[in-house]
Amino acid sequence: MKSLSLRDISVRFGEVQALDRVEISLEAGQICMLVGPNGAGKSTLLKVLLGLVRPEQGELHIDQQMAVQDYAFREKIGYLPENVAFSENLTGWQVLSFFARARGVRKERIEEVLRFVSLEHAARRAVRGYSRGMRQRLGLAVAILTEPMLLILDEPTGGLDQEGLSVLWEVLRVWREAGRMVLLSTHDIALLERRVDQMCVFKRGRICARGTPLELREMAALPIQIYLTFDDEKVITRLRTLEVLSSWITEVEEKKEQGVFQVRLVIPSHALLDYVQQQSLFSSDIRGFRMEEPTLDEVYERLLEMF
């Protein structure tokens, strides 16, 4: 499986249009993140792909050929549901053993996977004694058991502590390097920004924006904030005489204890080059410099407002 796409997917639940002609595509080695408010259609799309929700219309294409979610397709996918909770009576090992038997996976792989998700010490304990993060890691272990070509992760960061997040980052890295695909839905946008290749923003059953995180930043065109520190207040007076720059100065603060003056500039994202050119006029006076880019969460909020 080198590519996968869902085309023209529509799902209606009574009066609610859960998905409206949604299209997504994935190439080998790509990680795609679905984001959006609750009820926007992210999980529904994942379930359509898994065959758990029947769409009114739409097609699945694998390697440019029309396909169905038959048993052969299901052999190639691994799935982590949102807030998964396995039977409390079983141990982690027993849970994995069942899925290993069902998938025809050898026992040694269970040990490997348990080590991978750092659960080897808790494997013989009943799931009822697991923390939420441990349960999530067990779910992740089930999902990666067969080293599936496509990993579908529904809110994978939910309940994960730092150790669990490290496990998840490692899974994503390994899957990308092995040329496999990952499709995940999340609310933790900022956490995943640097780990995904593609991002689809859902709003009321439609994808309102898509692209790499960088492309979405450009699309949102949120301003950048720059904090400059000077020893002498006169420099600020000089800055105000610079026509372009003066309009970006939003705040001047005197930091008495440190004996410096701080200026906050809010620069439109497209004007960063103009700023750099202007800065050359007073760069020798700058004592401190700090730049704050908008977070991906802010970009996401802006995109939701825009579309």
Binding site: Y71, E82, S87, N89, R101, A102
Partner: protein, 264 residues
Amino acid sequence: MRRVARSLILHELSERTRDRWVLVISVLFAVLASAVTLYGRSAGAKAVGLTGPSLVTLASLFVPLVALILSHDAIVGESERNTLGLLLSLPIGRMEMVWAKFIGRSLALSAAVLLGFGSAGIFAGAVSRQVLWPLLLPTLLLGLAFLSLGLLLSVLYKRQVSAASAVVVVWFVLVFFYDLGLLGVLVISDGAVSQGVMRTLVLANPAGLFRMQMMEVFIGTQGLEQLGLTARVPSLGVLAALWSVWIVGPVLLGGWILLRKKVI
């Protein structure tokens, strides 16, 4: 049978035999069945007449309860734990999954029944062949019928607690109140309802079917007539058909409902 279904059957058996409630009620059933046979053995020649009906009453109370406890969370439990989608992401069909769950839990139920009658058998001595062996198969059939009903309820309900409440109601209605209701009908109608209609109504309840079948085994046709009951247990073919409907019907219906569900 495919690999996933086989694995699911074993998984269900293993998981269900660890369920505290199933264990508690199975052990209680075993203790009471042993006590009944031990008491009956002391009755000498009357042992069969005493032990048999007592065990029938015990089985008709406990076995449906164990079966309903075993099956009420089969689907709704998975759904609440968010593992139903995970199971169905395996190469297994919805109907196949329902059957695999039913078979796995049937094995757990059979183990519970065998534990009960097995422990009773230890104390039964010579009575064992006359009492326990005739009881075994109908008791298993009774259990399977209620297991099947519980499984259907687990498909119908969206919350496990609702399914649990529903099985308690089903147990009370079919095991306790159904017969009382029929008695009420007889009293109110002042015998106007024919024996044939009453017989049909009795057979329409798996617990009634079981009791009628076992009464004939232990009391005999003459005994029933002495009690004023002229109704006969249906032929073996009809019996097999009735039990098949009770056992297969709800599972099939549950599987069909799951198949038609748009969202899992």
